[in-house]
Every structure is written in C-alpha cells, then in structure tokens.
C-alpha cells in the first residue's frame, strides 16, 4: 500500500528534495507552495500524512496545522513540521497548533523516512 504524503514548503528546492526522498522510499507525494495551497489541495491529495514548513507567505505552517485540525475529515492526519529551528518554544507552539512532530534540517534521508514510517506506524 502506498501512503500519500502532502508536502508544503515555499522553497522549490526543499519541495524537490523532500519529494525525491519520499518517492524513492515508495510514497506518493503531493506538493503545495504555501499554507493556502496546502489546505486547498487536501481533498485532491487525500494525505495519510502532511509535512510542512513553518515560515511561508500567505499562510504559515501554524496556520496550516490549525486549518487542517479544524477540518472534519483530516483533523487526525499526522502533521510533521520540517524546520530549521529546534527550540522548545517552536515545538511548543507547533504542538499547540496541533502538530504531530518535527524534523529538524539538515535531515538525513534515512532518518527522515524512518520518522515518517514511525508516525504512520509502518
């Protein structure tokens, strides 16, 4: 079974990197450029897991997480925050918004995939 993952990041480089790593790990990947696009593509992507950046134009990662949690259908989808910062404050804030977990850059392919698998219980 391939799990679908929605990756939201305003940097095309990170989107490319994330999708390449995930596709090689056998996931089906959907991409969005910011929070607004991310929320808009929920029903198309129908994700089993969402990965999001924090600092993005229009709607940031926190906004996205809150918006996803507020939906009926996707409120329990795991959301991982992909971030440069690892401060407890940031994590607390992400957690308050409803984030499942976080991955700190620079990420290493194997670790990245293993965290995702873990959250998905695979």
């Amino acid at each position: 079974m391939t799990a679908r993952i929605l990756a939201v990041d305003d940097s095309p480089t990170i989107r490319g990197l994330v999708s390449s790593v995930l596709r090689r790990a056998g996931f089906e990947v959907y991409l969005a450029g910011d929070g607004v696009e991310g929320v808009g593509s929920l029903s198309d992507a129908d994700p089993a897991l969402i990965i999001t950046d924090i600092n993005m134009p229009r709607m940031d990662g926190f906004g996205l997480i809150e918006a996803v949690r507020a939906t009926g259908e996707y409120s329990s989808v795991p959301i991982l925050v992909l971030t440069t910062e690892s401060s407890p404050e940031l994590k607390a804030r992400a957690r308050n918004a409803g984030a499942t977990g976080w991955i700190v850059k620079p990420f290493e392919d194997k670790h990245f995939v293993s965290v995702i698998n873990r959250v998905l219980g695979r």
Partner: protein, 708 residues
C-alpha cells in the same frame, strides 16, 4: 548522489532569485519607498535561504543567514531603526551572502575573516550583551534533535525494557496514534503488551475525545535506550512515559541519575544550556503573529507564489533552435534564388507564397530571439554592489540610478556585458566623479550620481553610463597622449576626438595608479569587448557637468542586417549599421594625394577612399573609381572612410557564422555567412578597415589642408 547535486543546483537557482529579491528590497528600504511588507520580504528571502541551506548542511551560509535574519527580525519588529549605518551593514551582508552562495556553488571555502567581521558587525547592531554568542557561533541550527543513539554499554546484545505508556487526550489532538507507536516498538524487538483498562468509565460517562487506556510493554531488543526514546520523541509532552531497563547494571546506574529518560528532559537540558536561544525564539514568535496580521491586511505583496508561470530550458536547446532558424533563413534565400532562376518571379501566387514563408521565418526568428532575451536588470542589479564597493574604496559618496532595467537583450550579451560595465562603472566612480571637497567647491551635491540607463533605439540597444562629475580634462588627456606618443605633438583634434583617446590601448589618465580601476588599461579593453559583441562605444563629456559613455549593441549575435557587395569575383557583406551613404563619385568631389592617395569630399570633409578589393588582395591594382560605387562608412568615433566596391547587390539579413572558432582571425573580417546560392561570403569589420588602412592620422592632417 547525483540526485542531491540536482537539488543543490536548484537551490542555487533559487538563491539567485532570493538574492535579487533581497537586494531589491534593501534598495527600496534605502530610498524609504519600502513599507512593512518590504522588510518582511527581505526577511523571508534570508530566512528561505537559511532553511534550504540547512537542508544541504552548508554551515557558513546558515550561520551567516541566521545572524543576518536576526537583525532583520529586529527591524521588522521595529525594535531597530533602519539608520544609514544599519543599511550599509545590511547591504554588505547581502553582498557577502551572495559571495557565500558563490563559494558554496564552487564548493570553495568562504572568506572566514570576512565572515567573522560581518558577523561581528551584525552583532554590534543588535547589541549582543551576553556571553552566549559563543555558543551560537557553533551553530544552534545544527543541534538536531539530540537523541542519544549511541549504545551506552558498548553494544551488549540484548536489553530488556519495561515501558509504561499513558497518553493524554492531547496526543490524539496532535495526530499521534498510540497504535502506530506500539507498532514501532514491536519493530525494535520482541514485545509483550498488556493493556490497562482500569480507568475506562461506564458508557454514559465515556467521552470520545478523552483517553482512558494505558499500556505496559516489555521489550527485548538489541537496540539501545535511545531508539526507544526516539519512538516517543513526539509524544513526550502529551503522555506519561516511564522507561526502565532490567538486568543491565550499568544502565540501571544511568537510570538512577535520570529516572525517566524522555525527550522532554533533553529539551529541558537544551533550554538550560541555551537561554539565549529560548529568548530569541520568543521574539520570533511575537513577530510571526504580527506578520500574520500584516499578511491578512495586505494580502497582496506577500503572495509571490503566483509568480509568472515559466519553465527552465537549457540554453543549449535554445541555441540549437536559433541555429536551425539560421539555416531556415538561408534555405529561404536559396528557394528565392531557385524561383528567380526558374523565371517564376512574375507569378503572383508563387511570389505571395514565398513572401508568406519569409514573413513566417522572420516571426519565428523574432520569437526565438525573445526566448533568448533577458532583461538587463540581471546586469544592472550587480552594478549597485560595484558602486558600493567602489565608493567604499575611494571614500566618495555615490548613488547609482538605473533606468530601463527591463530592456531585454540577448542572453549571451548579458553575460558578456558584465565585465565591461563593471569596468566603466568603476571608472566613473574613480575618475569621473570628483572628491567631496571639489564637489562642494563647485556647488554640487556631495553625493555623486551615476546613471545607468538602457533603451531600445532603432533596432539596437542603447546603454548609457553617465556621471555628474567634472567631465574630461581635455588638456590633460592631450598632454598624456602626447607624452605617451599616442599622438604627434600639436595634432589638431576636435573635443570628441580627444575624448576618444581614452579608448586607445595603453592610455592611462590617472597618474597615480589606483587599486580600483587598475592601471587605466580598462577602457580599451572595454571597447574591444563591446566591439566583439557587434557594438560600439562613444564618449561625450561636458566640463563640470559630467561624462557619458554610450554603448550601442545589436539585438542578437546570430543574425545581422547587411549589405551584400561585390568585390572582383567575390561577394562580401558589410554591416548596415556602419553604412552612412552610398554614392557614385563624380569627378568634382574626388581629390588625389600623391600617387595612390584618393579622397572623397563628402559633407564638407575629405575622407579617405579605400579600395577594399586591394586590401583583401582580391586584385593587385586599384580599379578606376568610375567603374564602381562608393560606400561611406562611419565608426564609433565618427571617423569615416569611403569603401570602393564594384557593385551593391541588395540589403538582407545574414546568419552570422563565426570564423574564429573554426578557422582563425582574419584582419578586417568579423565573421562569415552562407548565401542563398550556397556560397560563403565574408562579413567585413568596418572598424578594422578604417584602422587597417592607417588613415586616421592622415585624415587629421588632410582636414587642415582642405580648409587651410
């Protein structure tokens, strides 16, 4: 691995865009045209670069971007004012950030001294008062989740852990799933799971979003405790987790000191070690709230996600297309020739069909040219930095104004314009503008202005670099040229001719060699480079008002509008841009000097007549002037010559084929082309013809003779 390289390349392209946004934003802040959104966009540009750089582990870039971002953050939260000195540092930082990207791109090590210097400069702005900066230098960004993955006991095969796991309701709200966690534990080794359902209430008291269950897991695994902790990484704050190990005396010790080794406790440690870090992120948080508000109210400028849809195509493919268009133009000319030979030119439908093809070929050519066209912005933007650096080096205050940045020219030209423009800009700052004292004496603004402008002018591109400096000191220029033996003492020269002396090789007007513009070898190199692009440079100067360099360039390097001429049994092409007029000479305007010197009286000037068939060795003896046509050509510096040719065929577009690549440089010839009949015609370089004929000095002297 090559995958990574590809993304790295993508990252660099993204960086270029972000750097451009950054420098545009900073300039808007300079001129106070920037609003809150400008500061946000500048911040975002640096932040995005940091984020992506971190993914690739480019530590210098991340460290620097981080500090840069901290300062920008203070600015956007209005804790700091964008004073002039702050802006100077921001510009420098932006320049250096660009250097760091370049260094990373070339896998080189960045200038560490400069890095340290600028980091300190940025620190000074925020006024770091405490000692924790040292820690920060190590790069907090690189403290990934510090889970202890190393086995504590040097890899003893089997550990037994007992894990008690009681999730809060919060765990469900954050999208974590106890079942997934249990599965993960199972993958570490052999597990025995017991469920504690003692807290499950009666159905009427049962609430769906609450948690009532807890689990006790006994895990036998060869993995260290770190692996177990890792599984609970994300739920440490929303579940009660107790992990204890059996039959491992060493580890028991460990657990005595750290009864519950959870991720949470590690975070505490991290926090304790890094109070600076915590504080900093508090401020980020505040500001992000603000930025959200700003985004909601403005809604527009931040949304650059809707940038123009575009694709990236390798230049090679476009070049190939351009070559094929060139071939098409040639084939079309051939077709015309065939039709002409067949005597079909009087057939209207044939002619109109041919016209259709010609029109289409022209349109396609134009479209391909527009694909290759890029805005001069790409070059102009760099010049701000050049001006800043040059101003720093000379201690002058200089402002650069740019006009017509969006004027498009061929991609190749963009690249090859960078060096000459850099040189000219430096030259303008160094030699063109006066120092502050002189400017004050002359009643000018202390800040000198250099204007860089671009525009399309009758099928060519005109680029001008002008300064509001003192203008060219012609007396000095003349003296230097005489001293260097570039002109004979006492030679009569017009003002514009004196100005043109600056372009002569070996001319240096600066008596003191300056580090910036070097030994003044610049301008002749500039001129050569521009000429190799099929362009010309002119100079205009007004005393006390300033100096203006004008560059005109063709729109493309691939085709050329030319005049097809006949020389003996050969066809040659003369670029139409050089042609001033064509005429059949009447004896009244012909003058003879000595045995071979022939002159044409044209527009009140005597200009040398060049029999180019002789110059190129097509015939040995000059043909009688009555048998041919004269074409008056003019070069950059308004020097003219009349070329004698046997006949003029027509004016046409020709595809430029470089000779130098495959054959070598021929004096007086710039390139070659293929004609409709398949023959090769050489393209004449008018500039070199005028030079090679050695008529320059002769002409100056003859002018006197004609009027004196």
């Amino acid at each position: 691995m090559s995958d990574m390289d590809e993304f790295l390349e993508m990252f660099f392209v993204e960086c270029d865009e972000l750097l451009e946004a950054l420098s545009t934003g900073l300039r808007a802040m300079d001129s106070a045209t920037g609003d809150v959104e400008t500061v946000h966009s500048v911040f975002r540009a640096v932040h995005s670069m940091k984020g992506a750089a971190a993914a690739f582990g480019l530590s210098d870039l991340v460290t620097f971007a981080h500090r840069f971002e901290t300062v920008l953050d203070e600015l956007r939260s209005e804790k700091l004012d964008a004073t002039q000195s702050v802006m100077v540092t921001l510009h420098r930082s932006s320049d250096f950030l660009s250097d760091l990207v370049t260094a990373a791109r070339q896998s080189e090590c960045a200038d560490q001294a400069r890095l340290k210097e600028l980091l300190n400069e940025l620190d000074d702005i925020i006024g770091h008062e405490d000692v924790s900066t040292e820690d920060e230098d190590e790069g907090i960004e690189f403290v990934p989740l510090t889970l202890d993955l190393t086995p504590l006991d040097g890899g003893t095969p089997l550990n037994t852990f007992q894990i008690i796991f009681s999730p809060d309701a919060e765990l469900y709200r954050s999208g974590n799933d106890p079942v997934a966690l249990l599965f993960s534990l199972q993958q570490l080794g052999e597990t025995e799971v017991t469920i504690d359902h003692a807290l499950v209430p009666l159905l009427r008291d049962w609430r769906a979003e609450e948690t009532y269950l807890s689990w006790k897991v006994t895990l036998i695994t060869d993995e260290p405790v770190g692996k177990v902790n890792e599984i609970f990484e994300f739920v440490a704050d929303c579940a009660a987790i107790e992990i204890s190990s059996f039959e491992q005396p060493i580890q028991n010790d460990f657990f005595e000191k750290n009864p519950v080794a959870t991720v949470g406790s590690q975070e505490q440690k991290e926090l304790a070690n890094n109070p600076q870090n915590a504080e900093e992120h508090k401020s980020v948080e505040l500001d992000e709230n603000k930025s959200e508000k700003a985004a909601k109210t403005s809604n527009g400028p931040g949304g650059n996600a809707n940038a123009a849809a575009s694709i990236r195509v390798s230049l090679e493919r476009v070049d190939k297309l351009m070559n094929m268009i060139g071939e098409l133009v040639i084939k079309e000319a051939m077709l015309y020739q065939v039709i002409e030979t067949a005597g079909l030119t009087n057939q209207p439908d044939v002619v109109s069909a041919l016209d259709g093809i010609r029109q289409l070929a022209g349109d396609i050519q134009e479209s391909v040219m527009s694909i290759r066209a890029q805005p001069l912005k790409l070059v102009f933007q760099r010049m701000h930095r050049i001006v800043r650096e040059a101003a720093d080096a000379t201690g002058k205050k200089v402002r650069l104004d740019t006009i017509g940045e969006n004027t498009e020219v061929d991609k190749t030209m963009i690249e090859r314009l960078i060096d000459p423009l850099t040189h000219m800009i430096r030259n303008s700052v160094d030699h063109g503008l006066e120092d502050a004292v002189t400017r004050q004496r002359r009643g000018k603004a202390l800040e000198g202005t250099i204007t860089l402008s671009a525009a399309h002018r009758s099928g060519r591109v005109l680029i001008e670099v002008s300064d509001d400096g003192g203008g060219i000191d012609r007396e000095r220029v003349r003296k230097i040229a005489e001293d260097r033996g570039l002109i004979a003492p006492g030679t009569q020269l017009s003002s514009s001719e004196i100005d043109s002396l600056l372009f002569l090789p070996g001319f240096s007007s600066k008596e003191q060699v300056s580090a910036l513009s070097g030994r003044g070898v610049g301008l002749d190199v500039v001129r050569r480079e521009i000429m190799s692009l099929g362009g010309r440079v002119m100079i205009q100067s007004t005393e006390n008002k300033g100096t203006k360099f004008s560059i005109t360039l063709p729109l493309t390097l691939a085709v050329l509008e030319g005049m097809l001429i006949q020389l003996g049994d050969q066809s040659m092409v003369l670029p139409i841009t050089a042609v001033q007029e064509t005429l059949r000479p009447s004896s009244s305007c012909l003058h003879y000097v000595g045995k071979t010197g022939k002159l044409l009286l044209n527009r009140g000037e005597l200009i040398p007549i060049v029999d180019i068939a002789c110059t190129f060795g097509i015939r040995d003896e000059p043909a009688p002037l009555e048998d041919g046509v004269l074409i008056v050509i003019e070069n950059d510096s308004h020097r003219r010559a009349a070329l004698f040719v046997d006949a003029i065929f027509d004016q046409r577009q020709v595809v430029i084929k470089s000779l130098e690549e495959n054959y070598g440089k021929i004096p007086g010839v710039s390139a070659a082309t293929i004609l409709g009949d398949g023959n090769i015609a050489l393209i004449i370089d008018p500039e070199e013809i005028i030079f090679a004929s050695g008529m320059e000095h002769a002409r100056n002297n003859l002018k006197i003779a004609a009027y004196g």
